[in-house]
Symmetry: C2
Subunit: 236 residues, 2 copies
């Protein structure tokens, strides 16, 4: 390993997003996107989190583990927000294809839970794929993490959630059948598809069908006449 | 190296704080605290920062390199903000004594400069000691990095800058002599000492004299009758 420092995960993300397709491009876009950090030894103790309940939000420092470690990051990237054609510097973007593959997400703190002997920090509004290695968790400090006068250029405002979503009768029926097991699934599907997860270069192809995996379900959808239609849901 | 992932710095901080004594406990407390990230190959190219000028603030992900790598972090820490006696979980604090020694600071972006062949990102409002290895630089995105409803418990408000500061006639004279080389030094000294960098367990000892190094100067001071007196400045 040709590197100067070593890091070891303190835990692993368990998330509603088993695949990266459909993962929101930043946190906060999908309030119903839920997950948890499953803590690893020696950090799976309540002591290490004493006082965490006082903070509404926490920073998750993580590794973009699905980017191959041997893929050399390039100096320029193409943010989806700019249509996928404009190139900006990797350090002027939040692209996953970056040195050290280090990611940073502000998520809502839903509290510490112990389940089947595992200690977990529940989190929501996430943009983290299942299996993400977590390197650190820090509390959000409003007075120094959120400068009033900050400006963010083309990323000053959230991306418009432009794609209206409707459910086919078949999908509606299925949602009702499984609502006991997946009580927020309808909201989550709507929030994820609102963001239009299609790659920019697909958008001229109205016939294309997509499957998006949420939890252990494949959500099948297409875009017709500017509306996203959820056709059906299937167990993965 | 018994670790799961390797990371390599993209650059190193050059800072007005050569030692950790006196470094502000978070960014933004000392507007005149200035430094720069000196970029290392292969990241010392303007391309990698294209568009950075559009962002007022950037996140610096760094290593607390002055914490020994072999010092095992403990689950509980004593934040100075709580008087140094109350213990909270390491993940409910921003203590440097933490797993992976990973730090995170939001600093003001002062722009890219090239000097003597080195490419540097100038930054201010810093809380970073000279020589800090930088692992990543990311733009601050107001819409997802600063939730409106965030709450931060005992760290909701900035610490009160309680220590009034005055300069001895000798210190005043010296400041005037060197003001061409250190134009903002008076402001910086005031901002740093306002925060009262003394360890909590020193505060009952009025005779104690301190030296704080800023740039290549030793600033000598003491606290008398609740006021910090800067006695003199000397070349280090």
């Amino acid at each position: 390993m040709n590197s100067d420092y070593g890091v070891t995960p303190i835990g692993t993300v368990r998330s509603c997003f088993p695949d990266k397709f459909g993962v929101p491009r930043q946190p906060s876009l999908c309030p119903h996107a839920r997950g948890e950090v499953v803590l690893s030894s020696p950090w799976n103790t309540e002591e290490a989190f004493r006082g965490i309940e006082d903070f509404s939000h926490v920073w998750i420092s993580f590794l973009f583990h699905q980017v191959p470690a041997d893929q050399a990051p390039s100096a320029l990237v193409r943010p989806p927000r700019l249509g996928g054609n404009t190139r900006v510097g990797v350090f002027a973007s939040r692209s996953p294809f970056r040195p050290n593959r280090l990611g940073l997400s502000l998520v809502r703190n839903q509290g510490l839970t112990r389940r089947h002997g595992e200690l977990c920090l529940a989190i929501s509004e996430i943009d983290l794929v299942d299996g993400t290695p977590v390197l650190d968790i820090k509390p959000f400090l409003p007075w120094c993490d959120a400068p009033e006068a900050a400006t963010g250029a083309w990323a000053n405002e959230p991306p418009a959630a432009t794609l209206p979503v409707r459910f086919s009768p078949q999908a509606e029926h299925r949602l009702q059948q499984i609502q006991w097991d997946y009580p927020e699934l309808r909201d989550l599907i709507r929030e994820v598809l609102n963001q239009d997860p299609r790659p920019a270069y697909h958008r001229d192809d109205p016939e294309r069908r997509y499957a998006l995996r949420l939890y252990d379900l494949d959500v099948h959808w297409l875009v017709a006449n500017g509306t996203c239609v959820v056709e059906r849901l299937e167990k993965a």
